[in-house]
Amino acid sequence: MTTDKATEQASDVHISFDNVVKSYDGSTQVVKDLNLDVNRGEFLTLLGPSGSGKTTCLMMLAGFESITSGTITIDGRAIQDILPHKRGIGMVFQNYALFPHLTVRKNLSFPLEVRGMSASERNSRVMRALELVQLEGLENRKPRNLSGGQQQRVAIARALVFEPEIVLMDEPLGALDRRLREEMQYEIRRIHQQLGVTMVYVTHDQQEAMVLSDRVAVFRDGRIEQIATPETLYEEPSRVFVSSFIGDNNVLYGEVREVQDNDICHVSIGPDRNVQALSVEETKPGEPVWVAIRPERVGIAKTENQYSNQFDAIVNDIVFMGDHLRINVDTCGVRNFIIKIPNLVGHGAVLPGDEIQVGWATLDCRALSMDSEKT
């Protein structure tokens, strides 16, 4: 469904980064030759660890950082010469940046006032925006008299009240506690679906990215590692970094022995241990590879040869997580191999120290080539 939507909009590029480079000191590049298209009405998340260049990209788009080289275009128009206040981009800041000396109403009508709107027009827009974020009745409060979640909603309302076509959000939920964060994620998702604006969202929280985004661009060291829908990133990561940044992953190191025609390869991961895996990129025998397996795709074998990849394991630890059990085992010469077992009746109780067999299907395990990986 999401892929359909993406292809449908593919022709309508709204924001485009072309060979964008950012460097503060002239030698170190914070953003390296970035190419990125954001479609109209899309929710795109820039995801990555801190220092990966995602916020810098957002700031260049908003006009608060200069572009060292390359171009950023909105609707095909280069924006580097447009001053920030003329770009018409709504922005939600990490610490909300609500004006502390103004009431909620004044904060929201600020962008309308500088646009010279009439008082009645301002008032009706402010009310509509407050309704959108469900904060009716708080318009005369000062920001400091609001809870964190309420401030967040005001910040979002203020970025939307002047009806920009593009809204940027820079880690807007970072200051909230977990429960509120999850609530706000669904809130932002709802608002995006309701308004259909183009959103560019920056976060380092992969779960947040999954919940919100049409597409996620995974950043690392100023480059995009992979840009795809959340499903594709999770199921078909093209790089080890992506595979371990999006969700948990077990990674085994090995060497390709044999490649079959159907992209299945045999990887040696130790003496007398071979793994059958799906080869993501073209690999040749003798090449070193990473083999990535999702913890929830690993099962405890009840019979011999139940899985195409099956190995002996020793249970280290079991953590009860509510909806699943997280079992930590030693297997394939790796410590802390993680298995997630759904908390179903009769999941097969194991205890620390138990000798068991674990296994997974060939298609659930991906061999990722090692070039350009530095992990």
């Binding site: 920030p84 206040h85 709504g90 940046a97 004006f99 600020f110 962008p111 500088v114 940027l168």
Partner: protein, 402 residues
């Protein structure tokens, strides 16, 4: 559980109080006691009452329209002689002279000659020695100076004096100086505050906006004058601003001013304003900088993202948030200006003198400490008023000094 905790805390709370005790004592000795003495001195003056107790007792029943009886003359004669012996007669003379000028010499002269008089009619003898004893005004002045508690200094410090009829009247026109000086002091203080704000705000903004290493350099530039002697700074303004000084020379050299009409920049109000603004500028810049540094750049960015141009953003977002610094800086500079002394004394000439210079004059030259104290108390009240207005409008807890 709460009670056990408070019990546990008690000894540890006593330790800091104990450690602070010497400091409390220090503050008491060096601040509270002198201040208290000053307040007392402004309204309590027992010198005359101590020197002439019996005379003053008798004068209490005096009807004040005719000369006192010979009893009074006899009593004051003996008291003048004894006060000449214990050397308190000078103080009496000074105090009576303040009320009725030109009567200083009468006391010492009378006392000296009285020792040789053997006449029993002391009234006649005294009037013979000095005919000012015939003047009822002198006796009124003695009676008035004999009051231990007096509002005279306070009245005087606002150009008033007690009238004959027991009411209050303005002092004669040629003696009215203090009210003018209060107004001038307030006016100069306001002007200096405004000047400091106009110069200091952009500087503080610049320091708060540049990188940390530049900010350090700029702060040192602001502070270096602060660390040099006030006297040196003020006198260097003399060098710069005087008639043949650097500023005038430059102006003449450029041709803005002709050589025979050099500007009078010093020994007048201009000099006072320039030098005081310079001296007090750090007190404006430092609180402003402290507040501005705490304003995150995100606010200006947010304003820009909402469509405000830099000027709108500054006026509507940045400036209101820097207001605690503005008010703190203005309060500091204004209050410091109210009591400023050295700079106006050195570069102010007569037209640039402020009320503090009058306090210094009464302490050092005229030795009328009571009047000096009264003026100081009025100045102190003025400062308190400023403080409470500030607290009411801005809140003293918002004061940030760095």
């Amino acid at each position: 559980m709460a009670s056990t905790r408070s019990q546990n805390q008690e000894p540890s709370r006593l330790v800091p109080i104990g450690l602070a005790l010497p400091l409390v004592a220090f503050v008491l000795v060096t601040f509270v006691i002198p201040l208290g003495t000053m307040v007392v001195q402004s309204a309590y003056d027992p010198q005359v009452a101590q020197a002439l107790p019996k005379t003053l007792d008798l004068l209490r029943d005096w009807n004040d329209s005719a000369l006192p009886s010979s009893d009074v003359f006899e009593t004051i004669a003996s008291e003048l002689i004894s006060s000449r012996e214990d050397r308190s007669i000078g103080k009496v003379a000074t105090r009576v002279n303040r009320i009725k000028s030109g009567s200083r010499s009468v006391f010492a002269k009378t006392a000296r000659r009285l020792e040789r008089v053997e006449d029993t009619d002391l009234k006649t003898a005294m009037i013979e020695i000095d005919d000012r004893w015939e003047d009822i005004e002198l006796w009124r002045a003695i009676r008035s100076a004999g009051q231990k508690f007096t509002a005279r200094h306070y009245l005087r410090s606002v150009d008033l004096e007690p009238a004959q009829d027991g009411g209050i009247q303005q002092v004669s026109e040629d003696q009215r100086i203090y009210n003018t000086l209060y107004f001038r002091t307030v006016y100069v203080s306001l002007a200096v505050t405004v000047l400091c704000f106009l110069i200091g705000y952009p500087i503080a903004y610049a320091i708060a906006s540049v990188s940390d290493s530049w900010a350090k350099i700029l702060l040192v530039i602001v502070l270096v004058p602060f660390w040099t002697s006030l006297l040196v700074r003020t006198t260097s303004w003399l060098v710069l601003l005087q008639n043949q000084g650097v500023v005038n020379d430059v102006l003449v050299w450029i041709g803005l001013v002709s050589d025979d009409s050099r500007l009078a920049l010093v020994h007048n109000m201009t000099g006072t304003l320039i030098a005081m603004t310079h001296v007090l500028l750090p007190f404006m810049i430092l609180p402003l900088y402290a507040v501005m540094r705490s304003i995150p750049p995100d606010y200006m960015r947010a304003a820009a993202s909402l469509g405000a141009n830099p000027i709108e953003g500054f006026v509507k977002v940045y400036f209101p948030q820097s207001l605690p610094g503005v008010s703190a800086g203005c309060l500091l500079v204004f209050i410091l200006s109210l009591g400023y002394y050295i700079t106006p004394a050195l570069v102010g000439g007569t037209k640039g003198q402020l009320i503090s210079n009058m306090i210094a004059y009464h302490i050092q030259t005229s030795l009328n400490w009571g009047l000096a104290a009264a003026i100081s108390v009025i100045l102190l009240i003025g400062v308190f008023v400023c403080y409470f207005i500030f607290d009411r409008w801005v809140g003293i807890d918002k004061l940030k000094l760095g």
